[in-house]
Every structure is written in structure tokens, then in C-alpha cells.
Symmetry: C2
Subunit: 352 residues, 2 copies
């Protein structure tokens, strides 16, 4: 399998490191010609994870997406979810035929309010069996410093999911197999909302006791949503639910079977909620302290993922009808001018 | 109901604050006559939560346990689990007849390897229907500063559990009802083991990505144990499992129905694992850094709860036969001279 990575940010750079550490020659797209020249001449990305040095002999850098796609079997899309549409919209409708697409996007395309697989199905006729997602609790900085991390590879074609994962297994990266392709993507979106909520709670001066209750109840709310919205409830003729399969240490294969306490669900929620430096946490903290959304965005000069995510999930849940009072209240605080203190007085009532 | 509290530490002091904030006159036992005199003359406990001032008109302080028990309907036992036996062993075998006992002990009696209810049944013929537990993610310091917290009241007699909880509901304390009396006590024990494990991981220089995977998998392991060991599998003729009952905000009653993401299970695990200042975390960190158990204990001048807990749960699980590889490996590291790095290499293989 030949891999191509679309994206020049820190997560794309981490994935390029993993694949080239395994001696894979890769195509790598980024918009900036300056960055491309810099990487080729100096061996590292000037803007992201700049401590990571590459064997440039393994890198085919390009600023033309079509070139990358034509030369790759597996295309990893690793741009921020808000930019995926811009990066892909000019491409030929048939360009992804015969290719495997791997999403490394953490969230829903906000303009379209779609998961990437649904966007690709609409615009490029990509079938779900050719679509995979790499997700899990994985700060790119810890990949850069080779701290042991776990990434989950999800796809309904279990054999190919496993084949893809083998290219990523390294001394510092363990791989987990999963086939709940909708669930893992929704979880990656929801966790940003709950992390933003944890930030608001902190800004409102709640303590650690309350925070742990809020995050535990958020985990439960997320699991409740995923039970209704995950792959089990999606019409996919080919999927065969495997029985409880244990890890097989001999072959190095580890599987989770829609266990909502697994790293791709609960682990990712925890690392995001308890990270003191995340944008969601910082943004939420400002909202809790009384900043307006506009003022917080200007102050931070960026958008926290949970902000758009709360709106996306609010509308998606109009069809799913899961009980998600925490996520919905955060939507109301951010988008419908509900006072944070009033919203949390409501949330307090739902917690156990 | 007249309450008596046995114990003079920070958690006993927090419970005394809650009950007296609700204008309940209470009996309060502590060993130290000096502390008793100090509290009566100065209005606060000199050693624990010293910022909490009491209405001393509501306090009947005594250093005689029998006096307290005779004058109370509900006896709250809030001494460290290792001292419960010492505090109670001289008492008359029938002294608890007609009384309700409320455990505020977080863990198993280490010498006897028994939950407090089983100890009380053996030594004082206390029936399970007269036994209750107060547990949940609740640092006493945050009760002292009146940060909103949630405590779970567990008992198989649901009506009395509810009645007891009403004495504790305050502006800063929400109460949750539960009847999984074995499960909540095992959870309170297991969480200390997992927090100690998180400390070892930190000492071994794993990063935040790994820590979130470890804690998420610990949550799953705990739920797996509780499914086998919780009240559902204990012979109690009187219990009737209530169907999924939602909170009733009108009456202020909130229930959880053996939902392992609730605050008393997952919430307590999170607050313990993510608390940087906990003894379990500090102790584990030293073990991970290469200290022997003996050296770590001497250095800290105290025992981390998770140390004894790992041994207790190891032996208890010989009967339950749950799969608890994380907890068992921590037992082997602490009690059987397994190298921390070797133990964690084993744990790594089980994580998803």
C-alpha cells in the first residue's frame, strides 16, 4: 500500500513521522511551497513538531492534491475539519475511485454538517467499505517525543482495516481495531463539546469534585448517543458483528468491540477534558468567566472545535433523538445566549 | 433521626459540617480529648479542615463510642478503614441492634479483608438492610469551601436510604440514591489501586496519551468486576431492582441504576486518578521511579490506600474470577517484586 497524506499541520506531521519511521515512502501534500522547500532542504517541518526530523528520501512532497491522489492507494485526509471541503472541492468527481480513504479528521465538516464519509459519498461516490478513520487519545506532541500512544483504526472492512493498521504499528504506537465507523467519529466530535463544558464549569468556579461528576456523566451521555447513532444502527449490508474477540498478543492484534470505555471513546474524552492547555478548555473557561463568544474568539484568535461541534450535534440529534442534556445545554449557552450559570443550574439537575 | 459520627479526621469533619449546616444536633466521637476541648472552646477542629467553624450548640462531643451509639439512631463510621476494627472491637456484641449503620469508609478492612458490612455482620450481627454507605467523588476540602459536590447514598432498603439522604442535602451537596451496596464499596477500593497505577505510569515516564488509555481501560475493568461482584449477584431476598427510573427534579430525588459511568463509580475513579496530590499517585510515582515499597513508605511516612487495596482485591477476586489484569499486575508490582517496567509491559498488551 502506498500512502498519501493531505495536510501540513501537527497531526499530519505526526502521521508522516509514523509512516516514515516504518520506512514507508509517502506522498505528502501541503499548501505552502515554502514549507515544502524547507522540509526538503532542512529535514523538518518549520511550523509544526519541528523537533521531528525526516528521512527526506522517503518524502514526495507536493502542493498538488491530484498528483498525490493518483500516486497513492490510501489517502489520509488530515486537514482541520473546517478546511476539508476547501482542500477537496475542485477535484474530479471520480478521482477517489479504487482508492482507500483514511480520515484523520477529528470532527464533523461544520459548513456541511456532515461526517467526512457522508461528504465523500455525496461528492465523490466513495463507498463506506473504502473509508476508514484513525482516531484516539493522541496529542501529536507525544508522538513527536515517541511516548507510547494508542491509535484506533476503524472501518467496516475489517481485513483492510487490519492491513492498514500494520503500517502504523511502531515501538511507540499500538494499534487497535474497531468497526464502529460512525460511532468513533461522533465520539471525536462530542468529546470536544464536553471538554468545552468542563472549561465553562472551571470558569464558573466549580471544583474538582463537580468536574469529575460532570465528565463521568458526559461519558455516559456520549455512550447513550453512540448506542443510538453508532454503526449498529446504520444499514450496512456487509458488516458482520464479530463476537467478543479478545486481544491476541501473539499476533499483536488488539480489538475492541464497541466498548464505550475503550481508548477511542472514553480515553479520548478524558485526555481532552483533562488537558489544561486545550483550546476547548481555554475557550470554555472564558465563557464561564463571562466573556461573550465573540470576545472569547477575538481574544484567542481561533475557534475551539467544540464551538461548531455543539451546533452540529444539536442538529444531528434532531434525527437521532438521544438524551444529551449536557451537550444541548452547551449548545444553548454558546449559540442561544443562555447564561452559563443558568445552563449549569440545569445541568446540575441531570447529574448522578 | 439522630446521627452520631465516629471519627475525627477530615472526612468525619466534613460530614459533621454538612449535618450541622442542616441544623441537626449530632453526637461526634473522636479519640483525642484535646481535640474535643479545642473544638468546644474554639469552634473548629484544630487538625482537619480548620477553616470550618461549627455551631457548638449542635455538637455532643465524646471520646466514648458506647455513649455515642446509645444516643444515636444512625451511626456514621468515618475512621480510616485500617482503624475501624480497633475503634469497634471492644464494643458489646448487641450494641448496634435497632440502629442504622452508615459507612463512610473508603475501602476494605485490610486486616480482615472484609467490607465493613461483612465485618459488622460477623461481629455484631448487623443485617444488610440496616447498613448504608456514603460514597462518591468528594474531596473533604471542597466540602469545607462549599464547592458543589455529589454524594451517593447506597443501601438495599431504598426508602430508608432516601430518608437518610435528605439530612445531607444542602446548597453545596447534591445526593444520589443507589442500591448496589457491594458494588459501590468495591469501586471505592478499586479506584485507589488504579490511581496508584496511574502514579506508577507517571513515574515510568509514560505521557498523557497513555494515561488516558490506562484510566479508560481501568474504568472498563472496574465495571467488569462490578458486574460480577455487585449487588445483582448477591443473595438478598428483599431487594427489588427498580426499572430505569429517571431523576425527578420536582422532588429533588436523583437515582442511578447501576450505571457504571455514574459519579460513585467513574466519577470517583477520575477524581482519584487525576488528582496530582493524592497519596496513591505520589506513592505510585515513587514506585515507578524505582523506589522499593519500603523506601516509598518511609519517605512518605504513610501508607497509600491502594497498596493494601491491591492485596485485598487480589484475594477477593480469587472467588469472583473477574478479569482484572491491571489491578492484578499492580498487586504483583507492589507485593511480589515484579519490576514496574515489566508489569507495565504486560498491561500494555491488554489495553484497547
Amino acid at each position: 500500500m502506498k500512502f498519501g497524506i493531505i495536510g501540513g499541520g501537527s497531526w499530519a506531521t505526526a502521521l508522516a513521522k509514523i509512516l516514515t519511521d516504518n520506512k514507508n515512502s509517502i506522498y505528502w501534500w501541503m499548501r505552502s511551497e515554502t514549507s515544502i522547500k524547507y522540509i526538503l532542504s532542512r529535514g523538518h517541518n518549520p511550523q509544526y513538531l519541528s523537533t521531528v526530523y525526516f528521512n527526506t528520501g522517503l518524502l514526495h512532497l507536493t502542493s498538488d492534491v491530484s498528483t498525490l491522489i493518483k500516486n497513492s492507494d490510501c489517502i489520509i485526509i488530515a486537514v482541520p475539519s473546517a478546511y476539508a471541503d476547501v482542500a477537496l472541492q475542485e477535484l474530479d468527481k471520480n478521482i477517489f475511485q479504487g482508492k482507500k480513504i483514511i480520515s484523520a479528521i477529528k470532527g464533523i465538516l461544520p459548513e456541511q454538517n456532515l461526517l467526512l464519509n457522508d461528504y465523500l459519498a455525496q461528492h465523490f461516490d466513495v463507498e463506506l467499505k473504502n473509508y476508514f478513520a484513525i482516531l484516539g487519545p493522541c496529542h501529536a506532541e507525544e508522538i513527536a517525543s515517541e511516548k507510547l500512544s494508542y491509535l484506533t483504526f476503524s472501518g467496516i472492512d475489517q481485513e483492510t482495516t487490519h492491513d492498514i493498521s500494520t503500517f502504523f504499528k511502531t515501538a511507540y504506537l499500538n494499534t487497535v481495531l474497531n468497526h464502529d465507523i460512525y460511532g468513533v467519529q461522533f465520539a471525536a466530535t462530542l468529546k470536544n463539546i464536553y471538554a468545552l463544558g468542563a472549561g465553562i464549569a472551571h470558569g464558573l468556579d466549580y471544583g474538582d469534585n463537580f468536574l469529575s461528576v460532570l465528565i463521568a456523566n458526559s461519558a455516559d451521555e456520549m455512550a447513550g448517543f453512540l448506542r443510538k447513532a453508532g454503526i449498529k444502527n446504520v444499514e450496512v449490508g456487509t458488516i458482520e458483528h464479530n463476537p467478543i474477540t479478545r486481544n491476541d498478543p501473539a499476533s499483536g492484534i488488539r480489538r475492541e468491540t464497541t466498548n464505550y470505555a475503550a481508548s477511542v471513546y472514553l480515553g479520548d474524552l478524558l485526555v481532552t477534558c483533562y488537558s489544561l492547555y486545550s483550546r476547548n478548555r481555554t475557550f470554555g473557561n472564558m465563557i464561564g468567566k463571562g466573556y461573550s463568544v465573540k470576545a472569547a474568539q477575538l481574544e484567542m484568535n481561533m475557534v475551539a472545535e467544540g464551538y461548531n461541534a455543539s451546533r452540529c450535534m444539536y442538529f444531528i440529534n434532531q434525527k437521532i433523538h438521544a438524551e444529551i442534556p449536557i451537550a444541548e445545554t452547551i449548545y444553548q449557552i454558546l449559540w442561544q445566549n443562555m447564561l452559563p450559570s443558568e445552563g449549569f443550574a440545569k445541568i446540575e439537575e441531570t447529574l448522578v
